[in-house]
């Protein structure tokens, strides 16, 4: 295969991944690494480097649209970014010490877990209005629009949320993914932040988290311009287009199909990891 046709194929694959990721809300980054490693037989270290770059592009590209809606909480985001960025550096360091097979197996498990999470119905976490001393001191409480009014919410269990965020950052740095799903769980389930605020704030944090490990990957020579270029441009174009048609699309079936794809990729990553093919 020539470099030209390889570039076009990877660009198209990344476009579809970004498009479906935005439509289903599952993020395109999570399928980029298995797509490159299993379908295009790219070395998993190059795949992770390229994926990390694409994660920064989609997070930053979508931020302007999310900000206008007025849901994201910049104080919560900034405070928790202390945990995610330190976690991301730790993850990127672990990545140099473990074998590519281990990374493949961990990646497969994370894929299966993401599919499991998306298949569950949205748990309805009750709004807990009792004040939290720590949250008040850190000025984390905020308001979010419901209809025409601004509804206040309080933030809870900050040490637990902070620890989960460290874990999300570590996975992001180790696997080159945004770990948006885990970030949302930390905010929505643990810290009792409204779901819409959690998802938009998580998107805001993903780019900063990925930037913390991207420099380490680049300096180690894991970012190949020939691979990162079509992946970044493809995922970015796909996710921007996906966000546009999101309003009109019926996403229930798409989510199901995409979840099945994620399960298959996850099992294949684990199998290839155990058989040493990665």
């Amino acid at each position: 295969m020539t470099i030209l046709s390889f570039t076009i194929l990877i660009g198209l694959g990344s476009f579809v991944a970004g498009f479906l990721g935005a439509l289903t809300g599952l993020g395109g980054g999570v399928v980029i690494v298995p797509l490159l490693a299993l379908v295009f037989h790219v070395d998993i270290r190059y795949a992770i480097g390229a994926s990390l770059i694409s994660v920064i592009a989609t997070s930053s590209g979508a931020a302007a649209a999310f900000v206008r809606e007025g849901y994201s909480n910049i104080r919560v985001g900034m405070f928790l970014e202390i945990a995610t960025t330190i976690g991301a550096i730790v993850g990127a360091m672990i990545a140099t010490y473990v074998t590519t097979s281990t990374i493949g197996i961990v990646f497969g498990l994370v894929l299966l877990y993401s599919a499991f999470l998306s298949s569950r119905p949205q748990p309805n976490v009750p709004v807990d209005a009792s004040p939290d001393r720590f949250a008040t001191a850190l000025k984390l409480n905020g308001t979010y629009p419901v209809g025409n009014e601004l509804r206040p919410y309080t933030v809870h269990r900050i040490p637990l949320g902070f620890s989960l965020m460290f874990g999300a950052g570590t996975l992001s740095g180790l696997l080159g993914i945004g770990s948006g799903a885990l970030k949302v769980i930390a905010m929505d389930q643990a810290m009792r932040i409204p779901f819409k605020v959690s998802t938009t704030t998580s998107n805001f944090m993903i780019g900063v988290t990925a930037a913390a490990s991207a420099g380490i990957y680049l300096s180690r020579g894991y970012v190949d311009p020939g691979i990162a270029m079509p992946v970044m441009l493809g995922v970015l174009a796909g996710s921007l287009m996906g966000a546009r048609v999101l309003v009109r699309a019926r996403t229930k079936w798409l989510r199901l199909v995409f979840s099945v794809v994620i399960v298959v990729l996850g099992l294949e990553m684990i199998y290839n990891g155990f058989t040493g093919k990665l």
Binding site: I3, S59, A64, A65, R68, K139, A211, I216, D224, P230
Partner: protein, 128 residues
């Protein structure tokens, strides 16, 4: 002053636009590099199966900039990727100014910690 010049909402909107501008700039530079790279190397065989690690010229900021000024396609792409990595870092740096303007010194300090971690990662890894 009872009303700071920048409230949370305005800071967020400026930050959102800053991020979008950064991504568009980075994507344009990557596209330009892609054109040069594909015109020169497009018909060569592709081999990304084996991991060799990138050449030293594509690993650090100074050498990438030098390569880009010599119009090397791969260096121009890498420069675009560096601009992309710099975009969220610029966002954090701008947030420091925003919180300082609000006289929210607790968050000036917390944001400086995040900025410090990001810079530690960049400088410690030897990219910059």
């Amino acid at each position: 002053m009872t009303h700071p010049a920048l409230d949370d909402r305005r800071i967020e909107i400026i930050i959102g636009n800053l991020l979008r501008a950064g991504v568009l700039l980075a994507a344009s530079v990557v596209l330009l590099g892609a054109a040069v790279y594909l015109v020169r190397h497009g018909l060569q065989p592709a081999d990304f199966r084996t991991f060799r690690g990138e050449a030293a010229a594509l690993r650090t900021v100074p050498s990438i900039v030098i390569g880009a000024t010599h119009l090397h396609g791969k260096s121009i792409i890498q420069l675009g990727l560096l601009l992309l990595i710099a975009t969220p870092i610029a966002r954090v740096a701008f947030s420091v100014i925003g919180f300082a303007d609000e006289r929210d010194y607790l968050y000036v300090a917390l944001t400086l910690v995040v900025l410090g971690v990001l810079l530690y990662s960049l400088l410690g890894s030897g990219v910059a």
